[in-house]
Symmetry: C2
Subunit: 391 residues, 2 copies
Amino acid sequence: MENFEFYSPTYFVFGKDNENRAGEFVKRFGGTKVLIHYGGGSVVRSGLLDRVKASLDREAIPYVELGGVMPNPRSGLVYEGIDLCRKENVDFVLAVGGGSTIDSSKAIAAGTVYDGDFWDFYQGKRIEKALSVGTILTIAAAGSEGSPDTVITKEEGMFKRGASGDAVRPKFSILNPALTQTLPAYQTAAGITDIMAHLYERYLTNSEEVEVTDRLIESLLLTMAHEGPRVIADPDNYEARANIMWAGMAAHNNMCGVGRSQDWLSHTIEHELSALYDCAHGAGLAVTMPAVFTYELSHNVMRFAQVAVRVWGCQMDFAHPEVTAKAGIEAFRNFLISIGMPKNFEELGAKEEDIPKLVDVLCNGDGRNGTISGFITLNEEDCTKIYKMMV
Amino acid sequence: MENFEFYSPTYFVFGKDNENRAGEFVKRFGGTKVLIHYGGGSVVRSGLLDRVKASLDREAIPYVELGGVMPNPRSGLVYEGIDLCRKENVDFVLAVGGGSTIDSSKAIAAGTVYDGDFWDFYQGKRIEKALSVGTILTIAAAGSEGSPDTVITKEEGMFKRGASGDAVRPKFSILNPALTQTLPAYQTAAGITDIMAHLYERYLTNSEEVEVTDRLIESLLLTMAHEGPRVIADPDNYEARANIMWAGMAAHNNMCGVGRSQDWLSHTIEHELSALYDCAHGAGLAVTMPAVFTYELSHNVMRFAQVAVRVWGCQMDFAHPEVTAKAGIEAFRNFLISIGMPKNFEELGAKEEDIPKLVDVLCNGDGRNGTISGFITLNEEDCTKIYKMMV
């Protein structure tokens, strides 16, 4: 195990009706003027936005609001939010929504107190200072509710890039599984896929002797494998939603990723798909992961065999571990298809003829120099092969 | 799953040599005058205390020191520490040691800023305010490095009781697995047992639909079952020590205990043993748990069968689940014996003739009214039977 530091100071408030306590927690964490940031119609239609406003009113905390966050959140709205926060002297950004809304909120929180262009953070500058952020989560997926990370897409060039810093870790996150019950099945499944991707990206490591984090990751994958189909079959199953929601947080606050190198190639390769086609990130991952894993398999057959046996219940073929390793990838792929995820470019809405363009942006865009690295290192030829496997 | 709040804001610094950064972290978390609190000779002899002092010197942070913490830490030294902190205007208590030292430090930190008798906290009063606490952990066991809990024994009556409050959660905890390599095998094994007890106490729940926390607990039990024997066979195995150390923290910061009722009967029943005989808490638990679990088995056979299958690799006897459930308890008992833990009163140094006295203090001492409750409720007759099973 490698040396590490771990810090997860977010105050989690989990369970039914807790969105009505948003004002209480904004106050506890020092907010005096709030930006309520959200996406589109469902937060408004469901009455959630009104309940949040009412809870701020009860604490006499003034607020302004900015809606319109889209999936794969854009830099344009971030600039708008930064201007609004500066003009209105906002000191607390309250995200009401999923990962996109939270990521956009983090970008606004960091950008408001930064003299330069906020995009600097998405080109590698660490976020050191930000307004306070709180979240009311409406979809279990991105794990942004408990992470220091944010991903934004820049319209010019459609670059989708990440930034990070403890300053944008949410001060509190309210997780009410009931809020996720009205999600369309496709979004629920995409969220499940994203959570499992966060686990696999940590599982695929070149660090040795990491039993405790291996086991933690497997436990969360097992949870998802059990609860995923239950919630797809019965969207109103609060208990399954609850287990998925806590697993989603635990999958990404890095509790189970510390002290080990991580992969993230599937995310990197997928980001170009959701940036170009505006598909759901989780759906893109469902198509990307089996191809990337198959390409990575020979790098460490035993690691893929281990997850096949421990998570997917495959029988170990001791004479031919690669058979077991492949069976595990196939089991995961079938699982993703079974919950309604796309299995190839066509179902995702991606096009084979775009592969050269995808590869070029992936390997050379925005400061990269021809390769991307994680569990293994890939050049343009490798990435072309991987995208072709997904057709 | 039940509604819950979860907050674990401790900054963890994990890995080799990090004790030399103690001063850096005291400074980061606002300490200006430190009490270094520790136990006995090994912290001094190993040079650890000198390294910690040197790191404070480098940051020009003044300190006073108070050694002498014993296993099952006593109230007498806590009073002494409180007096010293008040006299010296200490604002940061730095624990260098194991759970006993950390628990004593938390008691001092809370007592220093409290007008009444610090023992009030151990009779049910919530700790709301305290000096800052930091830790440098030297044994993986109690989990106090990441918890809001502290257990102290009051000399008058030898009452061993717990207190809790976010105010005494460590601001930072330095976990260097190498510091645990010099521990005697017996102490290492007692630590392993304590960690596994923290997991079982959370596992034995009356809450339903808690798949994610069940799985997390199982993953940590599997880690301990794998790494425990390795570290007993090879005390210098840094990697096994590292996996155990992180598992020990994760077992007790309540990440895997949220949203579910918990047991804690084994701890409650054991506390009287370590209070009376001053045995290692983990050793007491090794004798206590198999008896308590056997007594609890009929309350929920399937829960014991589940841990038997998932953790101990027992084959499920679908016609007779209680056979599997019992096999799991037996496997755990054999595991504890295999790492060198005592299996009965005699090996622990406890006496059958003390049982009436143990039961009386357990069920009626310090404000209790004849029963203790957890996974099930036990009266004096039940507790007598359980202690007799341990003979």
